[in-house]
């Protein structure tokens, strides 16, 4: 591989990493308070649809992003209400929200744009070269000539790490997902922690979805998310439910995606269908290893009822 083709590849990976980071950090954050979200795919689709429509109608990518995050936050709120307040099964509610997202995303697009052969296009996010750093050979064009969300998603991961492991608030948050009863007895508000993380998670997932039309296609299509939402759950396990390892793991997931979806042109005799299977098969393989060493939050997937005697 020549240097320039390596730079191209690595720069594409940096671009592809963003939705994985955002969706997985959201999954991780909510999981840390015990809420296991499985609606990523649906929330990302809504994010992609609303983000595109907002950007198109208001002629501003920023408005699109903000609207997408608003709707994503609402979906997170719904998840929190049904699981934490109404104490319904997290997987069932998660699937229901996934369905809702799936229907809403296409419906919104069809209602606003209609069925057209040539959908409108929004401009894609500009690369923002960082002065000086972007001039470094090889590393410069890979790391420092990217769009704003690439930088932000990396910074977010660092911030989440600091929040969870270096602040009292983070300790309280983690304790909710490990032992809500103990946390509750210490005066930590279990419900509020869960609501806040669920809403942030929904916003991050919707942002992850909104990123896709703004970077790749310029428009919304039904197949735009292509399982990235589901993959991000696997990535969260792969990263051991920790922000720093999720950041690292997302490079692996993005690398496989770029290999499978973007390198088809230079295919080496393998039918492209088999290349495109790679991300999913690789993820399943990776999970065999990821599931062994990883201990997810102890209370993951369960609802806390402070009046119950059995839940500890």
């Amino acid at each position: 591989m020549t240097t320039s083709s390596f730079i191209d590849f690595a720069a594409l990976v940096m671009l592809a990493v963003v939705p994985y980071i955002l969706a997985s950090q959201g999954t991780m954050l909510a999981g840390r308070t015990g809420l296991f979200i499985v609606s990523q795919e649906g929330i990302m689709l809504v994010g992609a649809s609303v983000g595109f429509l907002g950007a198109y109608l208001f002629d501003s990518l920023l408005v699109g992003v903000l609207l997408a995050m608003l709707v994503g936050g609402l979906m997170g709120l719904v998840l929190a209400y049904f699981t934490t307040t109404l104490k319904l099964d997290q997987f069932v509610v998660g699937l229901a929200v996934f369905f809702l997202g799936l229907g809403l995303s296409s419906l919104l697009f069809k209602v606003v744009i209609g069925v057209t052969l040539q959908p409108p296009i929004v401009p894609t996010l500009d690369a923002i070269p960082i002065p000086l750093l972007s001039r470094i050979p090889v590393l410069g064009p890979i790391l420092f000539r990217q769009n704003i969300l690439v930088y932000l998603s990396v910074l977010l991961s660092v911030a989440l790490y600091l929040l969870l492991y270096k602040t009292g608030m983070g300790l309280a948050l983690r304790s909710v997902g490990e032992n809500p009863k103990a946390a509750d007895s210490l005066g930590i508000n279990v419900t509020r922690n869960r609501y806040v993380t669920a809403v942030i998670a929904g916003m991050l997932m919707a942002l992850a979805g909104a990123y896709l039309p703004m970077v790749y296609t310029g428009t919304y299509t039904e197949g735009i998310v292509r399982g990235r939402g589901w993959l991000s759950i696997a990535l969260t396990f792969f990263g051991g439910w920790t922000p720093h390892l999720i950041l690292l793991g997302s490079f692996f997931f993005a690398g496989v995606e770029v290999l499978a979806l973007r390198v088809q042109v230079t295919s080496i005799g393998i039918p492209h269908q088999f290349l495109r299977m790679l991300p999913y098969l690789a993820t399943i393989l990776v999970m065999i290893f990821a599931f062994r060493g990883v201990r997810p939050p102890a209370f993951l997937g369960q609802n806390y009822d402070r009046e119950s005697r059995t839940s500890s």
């Binding site: 069932v92 369905f99 809702l100 419906l107 098969l281 999970m287």
Partner: protein, 348 residues
């Protein structure tokens, strides 16, 4: 958590009526919510709803279409509810349907010359086996390493999308078709028609039979009781000697087999070939049906019939009123959410 899904049933007509009330309210609430949306968008709400609800009953063709839709829906729902009874989520019915269809088409194309009494059973059997095979990986990973089955089954769907594309464009492509499609299977593999005008294939009878068998298995046999007990309380079942992990494996394999069969029926009964996209949104609807029925296998066929009616109405809605079919999908998702809510109300 899962014990909330597999509800104990009360017997008797009064109990049935009482059980139906929350469903009726959920349906009304969902229609009301979407009705507001439709009105805001400027559509004629009453006309839209009469299209959704009555298209199946206005013409013979509408009714036949509903039965044809019902067949894969009920099978997909059962492919979801059998593992659900054991407390596991099979979200891979779509991939299992596709790969079952590939198996059925492969046998139907390769052995095209065989007569019906041999070819048709082979086609259906191949579909069933391929469907079970497709879930074997996730089932084994769950059995051996305890890996979350939601993820692995759903990821296998995406692999299946590529596999059907490869089969329909590289192995047995039909160059005359404008869409990835295989050549037709041998006529011996066609499911016989129950009615010819409009055509109604006999896959319907297979689905009815499977639904009855599954109901008896889960609700009236001791093997099925082990399955349900596993879902209700895995720890207690294991104490009483049930091999819980083997029940997980078995339930997923059964689900995969039934989903595979639904793919074979689509090939042998509806299309007589493999068509990319033939899985439609059967998986999602199947899951919705299974969850609305709360895993009750006696209720599944009836919920599936209702959803089939809505789906036939949805396509009519798109044709005649230009209202996107997704509108009906949202109605269905909302019905599910309101049915879930009714449980909360009853708990209080």
């Amino acid at each position: 958590m899962t014990e909330a899904i597999v509800l104990k049933r009360k017997r008797g007509p009064a109990a049935i009526l009482q059980a139906l009330v929350p469903y009726l309210l959920a349906v009304i609430a969902a229609f009301a919510a979407v009705g507001v949306l439709l009105a805001l968008l400027g559509f004629d709400v009453l006309r839209a709803y009469s299209t959704i609800l009555f298209t199946s009953f206005r013409t013979t063709n509408g009714f036949i279409q509903t039965l044809i839709k019902w067949t894969p829906l009920v099978l997909q729902a059962l492919a979801f509810t059998i593992p659900l009874a054991a407390g596991k989520f099979n979200i891979g019915g779509e991939g299992q349907l596709i790969v079952g269809g590939i198996g059925a088409a492969a046998v139907g194309i390769l052995l095209a010359g065989l007569p019906l009494p041999i070819l048709l059973p082979s086609v259906l059997l191949a579909g069933t086996l391929f469907g079970a095979l497709w879930v074997l990986g996730p089932a084994w990973l769950l059995y051996r390493f305890g890996i979350n089955e939601i993820l692995t089954t759903v990821l296998m769907n995406f692999v299946a999308f590529e596999l059907i594309d490869f089969t329909a464009t590289k192995i047995w492509p039909d160059p005359a078709a404008g869409h990835p499609t295989t050549v037709p299977i041998g006529e011996g593999g066609y499911l016989p028609l129950l009615l010819s005008h409009p055509p109604l294939h006999s896959g319907l009878l297979i689905a009815v039979l499977v639904a009855i068998l599954v109901y008896f298995y889960t609700d009236h046999t001791s093997a099925g009781y082990e399955l349900v007990a596993t879902g209700a309380n895995p720890r207690a079942s294991s104490v009483y000697g049930v091999n819980v992990r083997r029940m997980f494996l078995l339930s997923l394999l059964l689900g995969g087999a039934i989903a595979g069969l639904s793919g074979a029926i689509e090939v042998a009964g509806v299309h007589h070939r493999l068509i990319e996209g033939m899985q439609s949104n059967f998986l999602l609807l199947g899951i919705i049906i299974g969850l609305i029925a709360k895993g009750n296998n006696l209720a599944v066929p009836f919920v599936a019939l209702f959803i089939a009616i809505l789906e036939v109405g949805a396509s009519a809605l798109q044709r005649t009123m230009m209202i996107p079919g997704e509108m009906v999908f949202i109605v269905e998702a909302l019905i599910l959410i309101f049915v879930l809510l009714s449980d909360v109300v009853r708990r209080r």
